[in-house]
Amino acid sequence: MLTVSVYRYHPELDEKPYMQDFQVDTGGKDLMVLDVLNLLKVQDSGLAYRRSCREGVCGSDGMNINGTNGLACITPLSACVKNNKLILRPLPALPVIRDLVIDMDQFYKQYEKVKPFLLNDTPAPAIERLQSPEEREKLDGLYECILCACCSTACPSFWWNPDKFIGPSGLLQAYRFLADSRDTATEERLADLDDPFSVFRCHGIMNCVTVCPKGLNPTKAIGHIRNMLLTRAT
């Protein structure tokens, strides 16, 4: 029997959130955290959490698992459970709608700010805009982000300034387009980021790198942006 302690909050019934303990029979198997949640759902059908792909692709089930942000569907119990106890809380710092479901609005707003799409004012070629393999390679480690918000909600700088600091996820995407050889808006993009908060609130704490379930490195991308901003200023 595994003890699972879950953060519960029902906006119409509860004044305040509380932790509720469940006992779950895992059958001695090394289940994924999401499997355990599904077992909990059998015990209490009112439990709310997001999930979709169940294989680490959609990014909907980011949550705080035994103190560390991660995707429930690809986190095996063996990687997180201590003393036979699993503690599930919603991602930090964003408002809780219900149980493990958070309001990602603020996170998406920051994403929107970086204009996460290709900007190119030259006439479109007949077939496609070509890139050399080397140019394409620059996007590796950037384009794989699934916007799960594990990183930004683990970032102390984002906790304190969620409205002004773009956060690791948004900045990783900002760099993804800054680094794209087909994008011609580099200068405008940099100008948009050039203020004390958007980029420079990052203090290299690296919580983002520690938690990213896709193994990406926002800190490094932020370092590149910072260098571009500094080069531009001189």
């Binding site: 305040k16 809380r89 930090p92 809780v96 102390p156 690296m206």
Partner: protein
Amino acid sequence: MSDKRPVNLDLGTFKHPLISMISIGHRISGVILFVGLVFLFCLFDTSLEGPAEFASAQALLQEDFLSQFIVWGLLSSLGFHFSAGMKHLVMDLGHGEELETANNAAKFVVGLTLVLAVLAGVWVW
């Protein structure tokens, strides 16, 4: 309803990786150093007032455990602040942005701080 939404920001329930502890520690030690300077300046001020005061300030540093402890604490904070600061500088230059190197650097900072703290202890007592 929405303005009542709770937020999970219960720091005690999160795991804090060593790297992030060093980063926050760097700031805390900075504050400690700043406050500590006040103490040192008071002491310095006293010692400048005359030979008798100088002697008493000296005695304080040589015999009073509490002041010695404060001085040691300040020196250790300085050691930590210095090593963590160096790490930040190196990182700003674009090195050690991989998780593994950063983790090793964090351990190195802790190690260096311990060594510096011991040295400071030897020097004070």
